[in-house]
């Protein structure tokens, strides 16, 4: 620790040094730390226990996704895009596919559109469960991660059954999805939904109503309502500040406009409301998935596309967006009419939330709340490092 803590005049501050008071010093946390779902560092300047300046440092997970995509055939990228966000990979797959579909004017069979919604919502559910565990971990409540992450595993089991993979699904493809439901799948999805729904009271008792959580999370990292829009906040973080914005409703895609769901909002815009809005969304999502299972029509799940080795996508550019568990997600794709995308830009929520907003909110926060604040924004480092 001693090397990490330096006073700003360059002198070393040994632990226990008397002159600590009223002096600024730098503290590096990360790139491995409990506030993130991947490697990401913070360089904090503290005065006593209070953060006076914060700088984020990304780049530890940089794999150059956007550039890589320009070098690969359209089909090959379906195996890459999911890696842009580990906890919630499917919006990447769906957006990527939808961008190509828009450029090439490809119709997606209705059944596939329902399946896509199911996959997107299961992914949201898994991602939120992950966040609950992570958030709890940052304040030392270690039972919750054990529960929510093993409950999340049940969703991964479903993914494994449907897509052949647990974490990376590589399942959405331009024109639809790669496989139809296996036999009896719908009922197993219902079982898992029932189970998770049944777990919520346990979660409440253990975590959401836990006095420690309330004491630690309420009033932490308040994202000022009047700044929320200006700072580009989206998704649950925006809804926790009282704005009822949701791409699924505002700019519906796939078959979301055929499904009924409300957009929950909260007002306090602090770490606690950001957590609680996600808890509300678990209920919302379960509702959406049940509707999908009720309404899903029979039919093909993929609209045959040309030989992937000789597949040109018509020239043009397109911007497609969706609502991920983290916020607004979008792909900007340019095709020059060749067999590879000319350019793909990924707009994730994490740069906004995990870099700009975080740097602002950290100021004035106490050091012990930094990780929690960060987690409450639910940013995803690999998606910052595109």
């Amino acid at each position: 620790m001693s090397e990490l803590v330096t006073a700003n005049d360059g002198s070393s501050l040994m632990p226990g040094a008397k002159s600590l008071e009223n002096r600024e010093y730098n503290l590096f946390i990360g790139p491995n730390h409990p506030g993130v779902e991947g490697n990401f560092a913070l360089k904090l300047t503290l005065e006593g226990d209070t953060i006076v300046k914060a700088k984020t440092e990304a780049g530890f997970l940089h794999r150059g996704f956007e550039k890589l995509m320009e070098e690969r055939l359209f089909i090959q990228n379906i195996a890459i895009v999911c890696r842009i966000c580990v906890p919630d990979p499917d919006p990447n797959e769906e957006n990527y596919a939808r961008a190509i579909e828009a450029l090439a004017d490809i119709e997606v069979p209705r059944r596939a559109q329902f399946i896509r919604v199911l996959v997107l919502e299961l992914s949201r559910l898994a991602s939120h469960l992950f966040t609950f565990g992570g958030h709890a971990g940052t304040i030392g409540l270690y039972t919750m991660p054990n529960w929510s992450i093993s409950d999340r595993d049940r969703i991964l089991d479903l993914f494994e059954e449907l897509t052949g993979g647990r974490v990376y699904h590589i399942y959405n493809m331009p024109g639809g999805v790669r496989r139809d439901f296996p036999a009896g799948f719908a009922s197993r999805v219902r079982d898992v939904l029932d189970y998770i729904e049944g777990r919520l009271p346990d979660y409440d008792n253990l975590f959401f109503n836990n006095r420690i959580l309330r004491k630690r999370a309420v009033g932490i990292g308040v994202l000022p309502r009047e700044r929320a829009m200006e700072w580009g906040t989206t998704g649950p973080n925006l809804r926790a500040a009282g704005f009822a914005h949701d791409v699924r409703k505002d700019d519906s895609y796939e078959v979301y406009n055929e499904l009924e769901f409300d957009i929950p909002t909260l007002k306090d815009s602090d770490a606690y409301s950001r957590l609680m809005i996600r808890r509300k969304e678990v209920v919302q999502t379960i509702g959406i998935i049940r509707q999908v299972l009720d309404k899903i029509p029979e039919g093909p799940v993929w609209n045959k596309q040309p030989n992937p080795l000789k597949w040109r996508v018509p020239a043009g550019d397109v911007y497609v967006r969706s609502e991920s568990s983290k916020g607004e997600y979008a792909y900007y794709m340019v095709s020059d009419g060749g067999v590879r995308p000319y350019r793909v830009h990924v707009r994730g929520a994490s740069v906004t939330h995990g870099v700009h907003i975080l740097e602002n909110l950290l100021v004035g926060t106490r050091i012990e709340d930094a990780s929690q604040l960060m987690f409450s924004l639910d940013a995803c480092p690999p998606e910052v490092d595109r």
């Binding site: 055939l73 089909i75 090959q76 195996a79 346990d202 004491k215 045959k304 992937p308 080795l309 000789k310």
Partner: protein
């Protein structure tokens, strides 16, 4: 939920109720978790089913698949000896390889753990049993509904039987641009077709060019190994399509029709500019080719491009051989044939028609007036069954009649006719005669009999089916006994049942049931059971030349024991046009080697020379680079650096040419044509300076690659000398000193 704003202190302890429950986690390795049915675990590959097409490696987004030659597996038609090996350090288990596998041989299992300290153990060769030989159940597998490949052909339009049965109009209509591009887009570019093509045509390359709508490029690719692409686009036997990997699960790419499409799209007057073949300056040597069939024409094309003076001797009034005088017009229209031939002739080939070697001019005289002679006379003597009655004037040979049809000569067309033979030639004459009958009598009355039963009839299935549609009656499995003649007139053909055609070893050894006799009525019989060569023109050479069985003995370049004489086409290796073309191409290289005194062994072999040139070249390049490094950043040496740079570029392009020549000696001739004129002059000066090479006479190998290099060498050798010289070192030292001084001044 929020019954208490402060939250509860005690309720969290309710979690204790789960204490007795069985945990969700499992203990590895004592507990095993079965993966689900479509899990994407380690790969398995059915090695017999896999054809080694490499499509899996092609689609892999992580370059995780490498195709390796497998010991004990041989390349065969439609299969390579390669099989995929997977690097699990790269694989992301996306299963794109499984979904595209052309044969469905590649699948994944439900096995997903592999723990080892040895990194090489993650590099596996999937077989049927999986990574640990444990035969795990299959996981992710190919799915018939979600199929990446386009298994069905774009249909080809053709005339119906009623539109075609009395005319010789071409049956197949050809692709439109859209159809052709769609068909071309099905190709996975595995190259199995190229391996199967006797001429090794660059098929994936021209298919790709068609797909990109770069028709000139498609044409250029074809001309690299085949100067009769219009013809082949119509009547090629298309071994390529038999080998096509798309044919394993679906329908082979219509390679032949794609070729036809591309060539039809190029107007003949544009051949010269589009195909862009340079004829190099005459070598002053002349070659005689006897027979202007596909083999002779192909040899003529490649030889004339290499700068030889080529004369084609042809006994018929027009060039084309069997393509003109055998294959019927409804399959190969004459104007299409002319398009190909005219282009070859236009490059400067001299064509002497109506000149039969052996009668009008002797082989002996060709030998004395030409540097080399190629014989490509084909098989033009019909074989007779020899059964009683074949000497009747109303018994004909199919070959003769087909030639008469082309020459528009009269011959009898009777109301009832019998054709003996079950091959494609029999079908060609039968279908031609049927057209004549229909035109003359308004109906078809024609019987085709063959030794082979229907299932083993050698003719193409579509020929038989179309023949039936046109009204031909087939009686397969019958052997001819006698042509029954009454009052000097043929009554019909008496046949017996053929009980077997081949013996157990597959040798031709027919047996008959003489109790099962049938008479097929007809007043005219056409025999079509095969053709033989007429090589009487060999004269005295027939005795001096070496034979291999009944054929003339030749080496890999079709050079006979009389080293000036090359033997190509049907008389040495049949049985089709494309094989003839291939022999012509190879022999052209052989003639070139022969006339340049390049022997098959020793340093004088052209490949060896190229190799020496290559290593020399690389050496020079290294020296230039070194000189450049020395000169870089020195203002005084700016001019020198500039020269070095130009030089380097020249070197690099020469190196590229050499590289290409070395990598693909088969296309050597072609590449030579593409080299600029001036570098083709004899100039082996620098090579002769090489100690390792002992070039004897002034009559050296003229491979042009070299001369431009030699001029360049002279220049850069000087420069290299300069950089090495004391003078330069001295000036460099001064330079350094000056720099040091100025640094001091500034600091």
């Amino acid at each position: 939920m929020a019954e208490n704003k402060l939250g509860s202190v005690l309720k969290p302890f309710l979690a204790l109720k789960t204490l007795g429950e069985k945990p969700d986690t499992i203990h590895v390795p004592s507990e095993y978790r079965e993966a689900c049915d479509r899990y994407r675990g380690f790969h398995v590959n059915d090695l017999d089913k896999c054809i080694g097409c490499g499509t899996c490696a092609e689609i892999c987004d992580n370059d995780a698949i490498r195709m390796v030659p497998v010991v004990g597996r041989e390349a065969e038609l439609g299969k390579t000896e390669y099989r995929p090996v997977i690097d699990y350090g790269r694989c992301c288990w996306c299963a794109l390889c499984v979904d595209i596998c052309t044969t469905n041989s590649l699948n994944m299992t439900r096995e997903y753990t592999h723990i080892d300290e040895e990194t090489n153990s993650f590099f596996i060769f999937p077989d049927e049993n999986g990574i640990h030989n444990k035969k795990f159940p299959k996981g992710w597998q190919a799915n018939k509904d979600i199929n990446f490949l386009d298994l069905e052909r774009v249909p080809m339009e053709a005339l119906g039987p009623e539109q075609r049965d009395s005319s010789f109009v071409e049956i197949v209509k050809g692709f439109t641009k859209q159809q052709a591009q769609l068909e071309a887009s099905r190709c996975v570019a595995c190259g199995l077709c190229t391996a199967a093509c006797p001429a090794g045509m660059n098929i994936p390359e021209y298919i790709d060019a068609i797909w990109r709508d770069d028709i000139p490029e498609a044409g250029r690719q074809m001309y690299k190994t085949n100067p009769l692409p219009d013809v082949c686009g119509r009547i090629c036997t298309h071994n390529c399509e038999t080998a096509c990997s798309m044919g394993v699960r679906g329908e082979a790419i219509s390679i032949r029709w794609l070729k036809r499409y591309a060539m039809d799209a190029i107007p003949s007057e544009e051949y010269k500019t589009l195909i862009n073949q340079r004829v190099v300056e005459s070598e002053g040597r002349s070659i005689a080719i006897v027979g202007a069939g596909p083999a002779g024409l192909s040899a003529a094309y490649y030889l004339v491009l290499m700068g030889y003076k080529v004369t084609l001797f042809e006994s018929y009034p027009e060039a084309g051989g069997m393509m003109r005088y055998g294959i019927p017009e409804y399959r190969l229209p004459y104007d299409i044939l002319d398009k190909d031939i005219d282009f070859i002739i236009s490059l400067g080939v001299e064509l002497k028609t109506n000149t039969r070697v052996g009668t009008d001019v002797t082989l002996e005289s060709l030998h004395s007036s030409y540097d080399s002679v190629l014989i490509a006379t084909g098989l033009h003597q019909g074989r007779s069954t020899g059964v009683p009655g074949t000497d009747n004037p109303m018994v004909f040979q199919s070959i003769d009649l087909l030639a008469k049809i082309t020459k528009k000569e009269e011959f009898p067309v009777e109301e009832k006719m019998v054709v003996i033979g079950g091959g494609n030639v029999a079908l060609d004459i039968a279908r031609s005669l049927a057209r004549k009958q229909k035109a003359k009598y308004g109906k078809v009355n024609l019987i085709v009999t063959s030794l082979e039963s229907r299932d083993i009839m050698p003719a193409d299935e579509e020929e038989i089916v179309e023949g039936m549609e046109e009204g031909i009656e087939f009686h397969p499995g019958r052997g001819p006994e006698e042509i029954v003649i009454k009052n000097n007139k043929i009554v019909g053909l008496k046949t017996s049942k053929c009980t077997r055609v081949f013996d157990e070893e597959g040798r031709f050894s027919p047996e008959f049931d003489k109790d099962d006799i049938e008479l097929y009525e007809g007043v005219m019989v056409v025999e079509s059971i095969g053709q033989a060569p007429d090589m009487s023109y060999l004269g005295t050479f027939a005795d001096s030349i070496e034979y291999d069985g009944r054929r003339i003995k030749v080496d890999e370049y079709y050079q006979s024991s009389e080293n000036w004489l090359f033997v190509i086409g049907d008389i040495i290796k049949g049985p089709d046009v494309i094989t003839g073309i291939a022999t012509g191409h190879t022999a052209a290289q052989g003639v070139d080697n022969f006339l340049r005194h390049i022997e098959a062994d020793g340093i004088t072999k052209i490949d060896d020379i190229l190799r020496i040139a290559y290593s020399y070249q690389k050496d020079q390049l290294a020296q230039i680079t070194q000189a450049e490094e020395t000169a870089s950043g020195k203002p005084e040496l700016e001019e020198l650096a500039g020269k070095l740079d130009t030089l380097k570029n020249q070197e690099l392009s020469s190196l590229e040419i050499l590289d290409a020549l070395l990598v693909n000696p088969d296309t050597r001739i072609h590449l030579r044509q593409e080299l600029p004129r001036e570098i083709l002059k004899d100039d082996f000066a620098y090579i002769t300076n090489l100690e390792s090479l002992d070039m004897s006479s002034g009559d050296t190998i003229s491979s042009g690659v070299i001369s431009r290099l030699s001029a360049a060498y002279a220049l850069y050798n000087d420069l290299i000398q300069l950089t090495r010289s004391k003078e330069l070192k001295f000036s460099l030292e001064i330079l350094r000193g000056r720099n040091d001084q100025s640094r001091k001044v500034f600091s």
